[in-house]
């Protein structure tokens, strides 16, 4: 069983990536939708993303009204134990809230479930990157710092020079991650998902 933590700032396109990743993985599992569980974390008093995902036919668990990287870390561990015990999927996609630090989530998971194969993919918004960088620098840096894979999203909405600038800027925060440029509003290449799914094997190699 593996868990992919999908981090990234608010509005970067995490849910769009989740939808396509789940579809990709299920298609590899003879369309058995129980092989993947999506764990959503939203900090508002109501949840929005989980409704979209549930309507798409996926198994969704939700932790809302708090952030699992800090205030709800205990609830995260409990939820994961429950998912493993009740559903035992092959893949858990944990969509972090847009203000979460994914490395904190990994720390919580490692403490509670040390044998779980856990990787971080961070989604960034090419269109808003420059606008958000100065006011949100600490948060963006913290979200990118421990990412194994970084997806630069919304590339269809920026020109070539902006994309190059954004890429350089993001690499200054994390030059070790694997980078992919995507437009999650369109079909994402299966190569991206295979990289996300095989991160642990690549790390060992």
């Amino acid at each position: 069983m593996k868990i992919i933590i999908l981090g990234g700032f608010l509005g970067s396109g995490k849910t769009s990536v989740v939808l396509q990743l789940a579809k990709h993985f299920i298609s590899k599992c003879s369309n058995d939708s129980t092989k993947v569980v999506i764990l959503e974390n939203e900090i508002g008093d109501v949840s929005v993303d989980d409704k979209l995902l549930q309507n798409s036919g996926y198994e969704v668990a939700n932790l809302f009204s708090g952030c699992v990287c800090c205030t709800m870390s205990g609830e995260l561990a409990l939820s994961l134990h429950r998912i493993i015990q009740d559903i035992s999927p092959e893949l858990i996609i944990m969509e972090a809230s847009g203000v979460a630090y994914p490395h904190n989530i990994v720390k919580t998971i490692n403490q509670s479930l040390p044998d779980l194969d856990c990787s971080i993919t961070c989604v960034t918004d090419a269109k808003r990157w420059k606008r958000l960088l100065r006011p949100m620098e600490m948060l963006l840096e913290g979200q990118l710092a421990a990412a194994d894979i970084i997806l630069i999203n919304k590339i269809d909405q920026v020109d070539q020079q902006t994309l190059l600038d954004v890429e350089d800027s993001i690499k200054a925060f994390n030059g070790l991650a694997k980078f992919f440029k995507i437009s999650a509003a369109q079909t994402i290449s299966p190569l991206v998902f295979e990289a996300m799914l095989n991160m642990e094997a690549e790390r060992i190699n």
């Binding site: 700032f9 608010l10 939203e42 929005v48 409704k51 979209l52 006011p135």
Partner: protein, 157 residues
């Protein structure tokens, strides 16, 4: 902001919200004090709006009903969310995201046949339900409260 189930906020209330807040790190996540509590039960379709802080972000949550068709509700909600965005930007705030989920009761149809022709009776859905979240930075809680009131006040009851 009105709430059909408004009650005073204290540590003995049984709504469960306060218990949850006690788990929170005060330095990281605190509640902006309102006279109302969310009782999140979409089945009851109660109206509410709340504001909390989380680190440097302000988190506004809202839920209300719209007694119009789905298409009409979509148009109204789209305009309201854009209004929220405009007001946040006008105050030089930064939009994290503004999103809402709109759903309607399903339409229904009864088909009856006594001879060879069918008789159809439709019931078109005219009730919609909205649940949404506004996460912003760089403005104050009272400013977000005003923005939410301006946009959703009519629908919050």
């Amino acid at each position: 902001m009105n709430n059909e189930q408004t009650h005073n906020h204290d540590e003995n209330c049984e709504c469960g919200c306060h218990r949850e807040h006690h788990h929170h790190d005060e330095h990281h996540h605190s509640e902006y004090h309102h006279n109302e509590h969310p009782r999140v039960n979409p089945a009851e379709q109660q109206s509410f709006a709340t504001i909390k802080t989380h680190d440097t972000s302000l988190v506004g949550s809202f839920q209300f009903g719209l007694d119009v068709s789905f298409d009409e509700a979509e148009t109204i909600l789209d305009a309201l969310l854009k209004q929220v965005a405009r007001e946040v930007v006008a105050l030089e705030g930064i939009i994290g995201h503004i999103k809402a989920f709109l759903r309607s009761e399903a339409s229904s149809c009864m088909i009856s046949i006594t001879e060879d022709e069918s008789d159809k009776h439709y019931s078109r859905a005219t009730k919609c339900h909205v649940e949404g979240v506004v996460i912003v930075f760089g403005i104050l809680p009272p400013q977000l409260e005003t923005i939410l009131k301006n946009a959703f006040g009519t629908y919050l009851g």
